[in-house]
């Protein structure tokens, strides 16, 4: 046979084989997600969704994971635990995803855990309550620092200001109730006594009644508002309106510029625990988190033209934990990925440095929260 034709044939075969191989080798890695992108928890789910989309694109642009592209399959649960359940079933059975990063709210997360355990698929939750990882569940991890940690951070700060008796005001939502419960249980550890306990409905528009009752109590040295959404801003405004002057603390649930905007000038002097992300630019260069948070802040804000929020940061951490685990395990095998996530050590995310273990599926400690104070309408670090 002609030599040239031989080579030609060979090249033909090789290219067909290469294409076939490439097509065969390129099924995407599927990351499933269910988020509250609409509905009452939309300000959690919306930045989470945007963050996941942004970073899946970035990771793909940089070559993907294990030579494969990532595919994000994300459903909007609207904050409903029932919808979340059906969507997770869909992700597992129909879409056949390799791992799940999602669950904006605790209710949704708890509802799907039985499905996760049955399907033996690694799941990283983006919700706040401590019950998600306590007791530890083999396949369930989470990235946000817990509400209990937030209480501890706040109480430690109060203690340093010689505050020992406080008023607690919280809303009707799951986050509020869980945080209230946690705060009540850890308060004695810091020598704090809750002498006034008021509640409001999270959709209420006026809390002067409850705050007035609190003001009548002469023992109250500071007020803690465990809430999120619109209500804490209203509480803050009402607080100033009726002339209360004791220190006001908010929860990490309002760790976004929106809270300051809604409260108007009333938020000055308020303290709250939050991730370093909110003061990214003000961090000293020596701060170990500076690089990660500034990078995320710039990427998110330049793409979406909206302020970055800590909730989106949870999604960043969740996605990267899964991707890093897959790289470390050199596989998308669910059990191997799970093991790799569980052995995450010294990885710096937006929420803090993660050090997971078989008994700790969160991996953060109190240093994950910084105490911030609002001054002149902006965040400042409390030293």
């Amino acid at each position: 046979m002609n030599f040239k034709r031989c080579i030609g044939r060979f090249v033909q075969f090789a290219s067909i084989a290469a294409i076939a191989f490439a097509a065969h080798a390129a099924p995407p890695i599927k990351i499933g997600s269910f988020l509250a992108a609409t509905g009452p928890a939309a300000f959690l789910g919306d930045p989470e969704m945007k963050t996941l989309e942004l970073y899946v694109d970035k990771i793909n642009a940089a070559g993907g994971v294990l030579g494969r592209k990532l595919e994000l399959i994300a459903y909007d649960s609207g904050g409903s635990a029932e919808k979340a359940r059906t969507f997770v079933k869909r992700l597992i059975e129909e879409d056949k995803v390799d791992a799940i990063v999602g669950g904006s709210t605790t209710g949704e997360t708890m509802a799907v855990i039985p499905l996760i355990e049955q399907a033996k698929i690694p799941f990283i939750s983006l919700a706040g309550a401590v019950v998600i990882v306590e007791p530890v569940k083999k396949w369930v991890f989470k990235t946000p620092a817990t509400d209990r940690m937030a209480c501890e951070k706040i109480f430690a700060d109060m203690k340093s200001r010689n505050i020992s008796k406080i008023g607690l005001i919280s809303g009707s939502g799951g986050f509020d109730k869980s945080m209230r419960h946690q705060c009540m249980s850890v308060a004695p550890k810091y020598g704090i006594e809750i002498v006034s306990d008021e509640t409001y409905n999270s959709k209420d528009t006026d809390m002067t009644a409850q705050l007035t009752k609190m003001r009548q109590n002469p023992q109250v040295q500071a007020v803690l508002n465990a809430g999120f959404g619109a209500a804490p801003a209203i509480v803050t405004k009402n607080f100033r309106q009726i002339g209360m002057t004791v220190p006001l603390y908010q929860s990490h649930g309002v760790a976004s510029k929106k809270y300051i905007e809604l409260s108007g000038g009333a938020a000055d002097g308020v303290r709250l625990p939050a991730a370093a992300l909110l003061v990214a630019d003000a961090l000293p260069n020596s701060d170990p988190q500076k690089k990660v948070v500034v990078g995320y802040k710039n990427a998110f804000e330049s793409k979406y033209h909206q302020d970055v929020s800590t909730f989106g940061g949870h999604a960043y951490d969740g996605l990267h934990l899964v991707v890093n685990a897959m790289k470390k395990a050199h596989s998308t095998n669910k059990a191997k990925v799970r093991d790799a996530i569980e052995s995450t050590h010294g990885w710096m995310g937006i929420d803090g440095e993660f050090n997971m273990s078989p008994t700790d599926h969160l991996g953060l400690d109190l240093s994950a929260f910084r105490m911030l104070e609002i001054k002149n309408g902006d965040w400042t670090l409390v030293k």
Binding site: A37, A81, T86, K89, A111, P114, S172, G173, K177, S178
Partner: protein, 316 residues
């Protein structure tokens, strides 16, 4: 009951039974079974609600409250007090029936929008209580529910549930069709036509209304309890005003005064959000538009309007 398969009623039931029996061939995986089960459970509630809205001509904007009470009743008795699930389910349903009877007597003397508001208020009160009593109910984040076990064996897996729900759905349809044709049912329809005329003929309108109210509450509570055990989880959102509206929409969409309409309405409106999920941000707009357009162009609801189109003209 006239057993003729040639009657619309018998034929309808046969068709439904056939669909239930053959559907698994089209259900590719557990996700599809899950949707089918949810359709079935919603259909059971809607059949009961249809008796109230379509036949008795009343309205309830608070039926999710009964659903939620049935769900939580069964959940709390099994999870917190260790009752066997069947007993818990029965107790919860009976409790809701009692509540419906107590509440129904004074409320059902109201008419029209006042009745709507009263049922709405009742539903809101139930959902707030469920959300607030977190020691018992787990609060707004909900609580886990143990699975249903029949005679010692836990019922798990979508396939087993599918057959259970399918059987119960057929039972519910049969009950509903029977009731409508019975003397009680005819009294009901007389009520719907004109309450005053019905009373003139000697029908105790309030008593009839309360009976249907209680029956529809029982359907809702039973479906609620089953949903809780199936999902393994329950949140107070199931008793919310929004859920009540969803249920009424299913009944009206499918066709009031039509048992099969209730089933169709439940099926379409349970599957629609799943189909529309791909639309993400646009889902709400499309859903609202579908609701409006269907009722504007098919004001009697899906099934009755289509049935009228295809029904043979009556000989004069």
């Amino acid at each position: 009951m006239r057993a003729g398969l040639l009657t619309a009623r018998g034929g309808g039931m046969l068709a439904l039974a056939a669909v239930i029996a053959l559907l698994p061939l089209a259900l590719a995986n557990n996700y599809f079974y899950d949707v089918a089960i949810l359709v079935g459970l919603n259909a059971i509630v809607c059949i009961g609600l249809n008796l109230l809205i379509g036949y008795a001509g009343q309205i309830s904007l608070g039926h999710a409250g009964f659903f939620g009470l049935g769900a939580y009743g069964s959940a709390i008795l099994t999870a917190r007090f260790g009752w066997p699930p069947l007993a818990a389910l029965a107790a919860a349903t009976t409790g809701v029936a009692l509540l419906a009877w107590l509440v129904g007597r004074p409320i059902l003397r109201l008419r029209g929008h006042y009745l709507a508001m009263a049922t709405l208020g009742m539903g809101v009160i139930i959902s707030i209580v469920l959300s607030n009593e977190d020691e018992l109910t787990g609060g707004p984040d909900g609580m886990s529910v143990p699975p249903l076990s029949l005679f010692g064996h836990a019922l798990s897996g979508e396939k087993a549930w599918y057959w259970l729900v399918g059987a119960l759905l057929l039972l519910a349809v049969w009950l509903s069709l029977n009731l409508i044709e019975s003397p009680g049912g005819r009294a009901l329809r007389a009520l719907h036509g004109s309450e005053t005329a019905a009373e003139v003929v000697g029908i105790d309108s309030v008593r009839q209304k309360v009976m249907v109210f209680v029956l529809s509450a029982v359907f809702a509570a039973l479906a609620g309890g089953l949903t809780a055990h199936y999902s393994g989880f329950i949140t107070p959102g199931r008793a919310s005003f929004l859920h009540s509206i969803e249920l009424v929409t299913m009944v009206v969409f499918g066709g009031m005064a039509s048992t099969f309409g209730a089933v169709v309405g439940a099926a379409v409106l349970t599957m629609l959000p799943q189909l529309l999920a791909v639309l993400k941000d646009y889902e709400m707009v499309v859903f609202g538009a579908v609701m409006m357009l269907t009722l504007i162009f098919l004001p009697k609801g899906f099934v009755p309007t289509l049935a009228a189109r295809f029904a043979p003209r009556e000989r004069k």
